[in-house]
Amino acid sequence: MAAAYGYFPGCSLRGTGVAYEESMLTLFRLLDLPLAELENWNCCGATSYMSIDERSAFVLSSRNLALAHEAKHRDLIAPCSACYLVLRKTQDYIQRYPRIAREVGVSVDHGNLRVLNQIRVRHPMEVLYADVGPDRIRKKVTRHWHGGMVACYYGCQMVRPYAEADRTHDPTRMDELLAAVDVPTVRYSLKTKCCGGSLMGTTHEIGVRLNYILLKEAARKGAQAIATACPLCQFNLDACQREIRRESGERFDIPILFFTQILGWSLGGDVRSLGLRRSISGRKTIEQWFAEAPARKETYV
């Protein structure tokens, strides 16, 4: 068995994004990829910590990198796009700014922070694409897809500066992974437009509006579900649909899935271990698409 990947869950995967963790662990198990969770990891700081203090924001991430280094991980998987970006941004700043490296080094007892920069912080989508590959995933398919068209929504932070999970302006790896398990995807032009992140909880109306645009465009392209790769994107798109229905009368009831749920299902995972009952919107569609024995459509030739 290969050396285990270090695994950094992040706070969201222990809360609103629990289905992401469940489905990712199931998928990695089905692919025989061992994961070892960082012991006693701390919050990455997300987007808010950096808004208050710079030095300690980098200390937070450096502590996690130091834990990964002590556990001798070469790769550290961060499924949440915010964690992924923040960890990589920390490495970038430590490398480019000696003053920050000095100040941070004192606080994490790591005289030489450069060793922390050797850890490869990776997004699971990129790990699945580069280390496993669509071809090997295709060979492991045990279930035929009988769901509908899916829009792959990459969100913002996994394809922005510091990140290299995919191409910045036109990422395609999630589409390619889903194609490997025969899931049809639409050309989704808003695939890297931001969902607003935590604005849904602060300036609620703006958050709803951003997500309305994302849902509307996906529906217009004929998608019956949206696949995401970030707990915040999934939460925002999932949680706002009822409100949009109530306020505008426009009927969205679209399942917002994690790409790991779709891949895990095709590779034989079950509804429970993939967290498929944790969605708020599109529950009926999810029940139909992810039924153990699908009702066969009668065809008359």
Binding site: S48, Y97, C194, S198
Partner: protein, 189 residues
């Protein structure tokens, strides 16, 4: 209140403006072309009081107070769309972060605007416990900014509880006190 369009030279702080580009991440500000690619790429710019391009213009001329007390810097969701579209590779998002930090230090952020309240509550929670707990974060932010929004959130809160996605447990790491000491940082309101 209508935004005041007229600005006078004596209100500007040119020394502050010159020192902006010394900050990590803000180096390119002086090379901005004012092309507006950042504002065009920004999904939030239509909700902002100043577009990102105008914030850069204000900063370069030294209109410190206008930039620091704007809502713009707090509406920035850190999606980095501006940064990847800028023809001069200016890290606009990092400039926004730098302005947010200064606005907190100088207490110039818009009071009761929920975004800086959330940022401070989040900072406090993570520094004390090492992790964030979504339920308590939202509750505290609402109580300190606008408690009425809790009413609108009851339904979604119930949905999250029902699907096992909201826990009332407070997440905490084992050596939270030691981490807290190492983090230090400013006192927040």
């Amino acid at each position: 209140m209508m935004e005041r369009k007229l600005k006078f030279q004596r209100e500007a702080d040119p020394v502050w403006a010159r020192r902006i580009s010394d900050r990590p991440g803000c180096e390119g500000v002086s090379s901005c072309l004012q092309c507006g690619a950042c504002s065009g790429a920004c999904p939030l710019s239509i909700y902002m009081d100043y577009s990102p391009r105008r914030i850069i213009a204000l900063v370069r001329e030294g209109f410190r107070k206008d930039a620091l007390s704007s809502k713009t810097i707090w509406l920035c969701a850190s999606c980095y769309s501006c940064a990847v579209h800028c023809p001069r590779q200016i890290h606009v998002t990092d400039l926004m972060y730098s302005l947010k930090r200064e606005a907190i230090q100088q207490r110039l952020y818009p009071r009761r605007f929920p975004v800086p309240v959330l940022a401070q509550e989040f900072f406090r929670m993570v520094r004390r416990q090492g992790r964030s707990s979504e339920f308590w974060l939202i509750l505290r932010t609402a109580l300190r900014s606008n408690p009425l929004i809790l009413l609108g959130m009851m339904r979604i809160g119930w949905d999250l509880l029902r699907t096992g996605r909201f826990t009332l447990r407070r997440e905490r790491i084992a050596d939270a006190a030691s981490l807290s000491r190492r983090l230090g940082g400013p006192e927040v309101a």
